[in-house]
């Protein structure tokens, strides 16, 4: 099991964003999280990444018990939230190579990641501040590819991408899965997402149900 949540409550700003979520995710799955805004999808992804304390219940991700030490899981997961986690004043190449230096990836890895995400030479020398929303998203995904996470947690990865970019993204996620990663992503683009996903979960009112 990659992730196994049992009756997990996560409190955020005095509000139980997750109110007893139970689900399991097996290795190699591409799991779609669907549900209305404010249902708890973002909280679920952040909790999986070990960023939020588990108030009640038990959560085990990649063999780490989040109730005991939620920091241990962090190096093994890649999280792409609503924010891209980029530095707008740096160029695309500088952003990606910053993250690669932090985790010891090679220049070759950076090159490959940029190619996969279609970040051409011209784009890679552009400051992130001058990119379109979709281009920024691609840059952020490239940093995740460089990190070679075992579990990808993506919050609305399709948002802001054009249809070509979405195809590229789907291809990237599939090849990441083929390379041994597990993907969990939230999306409103139900048709496209269901095509991509091997399984989908519905999150409503802080509770997770199988769809």
């Amino acid at each position: 099991m990659i992730a196994s949540f049992s009756n997990v409550v996560v409190v955020y700003d005095n509000f139980p964003a997750l109110a007893g979520a139970s689900f399991e995710i097996a290795s190699g799955e591409i799991v779609l999280l669907q549900g209305p805004n404010g249902a708890g999808k973002t909280t679920l992804l952040r909790a999986c990444a070990g960023l939020l304390p588990i108030a009640r219940g038990s959560a085990i991700v990649l063999g780490c018990d989040l109730g005991v030490d939620r920091r241990a899981v962090r190096a093994k997961v890649g999280l792409l939230g609503h924010a891209n986690g980029l530095f707008p004043d740096l160029t695309v190449a500088e952003n990606i190579s910053f993250w690669s230096r932090l985790i010891g990836a090679s220049a070759q890895d950076v090159e490959t990641a940029m190619q996969i995400m279609g970040l051409s030479d011209r784009l890679s020398a552009t400051r992130v501040a001058n990119l379109s929303a979709g281009q920024r998203r691609r840059c952020a995904l490239a940093t995740l590819i460089v990190r070679r996470a075992q579990l990808w947690l993506l919050d609305e990865p399709h948002a802001g991408l054009d249809s070509q970019g979405r195809d590229e993204l789907d291809k990237t996620l599939r090849s990441a899965r083929d390379a041994g990663a597990t993907v969990v992503f939230a999306s409103h683009e139900i048709d496209r997402a269901q095509n991509l996903a091997t399984r989908s979960l519905t999150v409503v009112g802080g509770v997770v149900t199988e769809t």
Partner: protein, 235 residues
């Protein structure tokens, strides 16, 4: 910590990566040179208006340099964490599972370099504006003082800046937490600078006792910062 071993990245590499990232962003955005520096210069000029007496100004020049530096410290620290929080990069840093004490040193060194650049301009300004005479032995004392005091300020600045990063009301909380802590630096650096300037007939030799205090301060907060920073910025 163990994670940086897992990936084979040494602490030094993380420090330089964070340091060069912060400096590169400053080179691009020019916040320190275009905004903080004029602000600090203005503070010095305003003091000249308020005190309106050449003798007094000459006497307090050292203190004014350090007071202007302190005010600038708050702004630069806020800015230093704003670049990490504006697009959620701080979250990514947390998730990356890297050694946060290395992030502490990287950010502190970057902050110290920005502060030193600022102080050089301020001190030159004080020498010109307030008509201070500087001897060779005074210059040696001054350089030592700037190095010790600035590294101490950088350590506490990043430590408490990390604590307040992303918190509500950080603009007011940061000075409230920082001001009492940096009081020893203000006192010691001011006295040492006055000794270097020879203000009020102070001897250069009087300044070296204060350098000792600054060194202790820097060591204390360098060590405690590298230990505590991780648990302060962590969610």
């Amino acid at each position: 910590m163990k994670n940086s071993l897992d990936t084979g990245v040494t602490k030094g590499k993380v420090v330089t990566a964070v340091l060069s990232k912060d400096l590169k962003i400053e080179m691009r955005s020019r916040v320190v040179t275009n905004q903080v520096l004029p602000f600090a210069g203005l503070v010095m000029v305003m003091f000249a208006f308020a005190l309106d007496n050449d003798d007094v100004l000459q006497r307090v020049a050292g203190g004014l340099v350090w007071l202007a530096t302190l005010f600038s410290l708050f702004i630069i620290v806020q800015r230093s964490f704003a670049i990490d929080t504006q697009d959620g990069a701080l979250d990514s840093l947390r998730v990356a599972g890297i050694d946060l004490s290395a992030v502490f040193f990287g950010k502190a060194i970057a902050l110290a370099l920005k502060l030193i650049a600022l102080e050089i301009v301020l001190i030159c300004g004080a020498v010109l504006l307030y008509r201070v005479d500087l001897t060779a032995s005074g210059l040696v004392l001054l350089v030592t003082c700037v190095l010790c005091a600035t590294s101490g300020l950088a350590f506490v600045g990043i430590l408490y800046g990390g604590l307040t990063a992303g918190a509500k009301g950080r603009e007011t909380l940061l000075p409230l937490l920082l001001l009492p802590v940096v009081a020893p630096v203000l006192i010691a650096a001011t006295r040492a600078t006055e000794a270097a300037f020879g203000s009020g007939g102070a001897q250069t030799s009087e300044g070296w006792a204060w350098i000792g205090l600054l060194t202790v301060f820097t060591a204390v907060f360098g060590v405690s910062g590298s230990l505590a920073f991780g648990s302060l910025i962590d969610e």
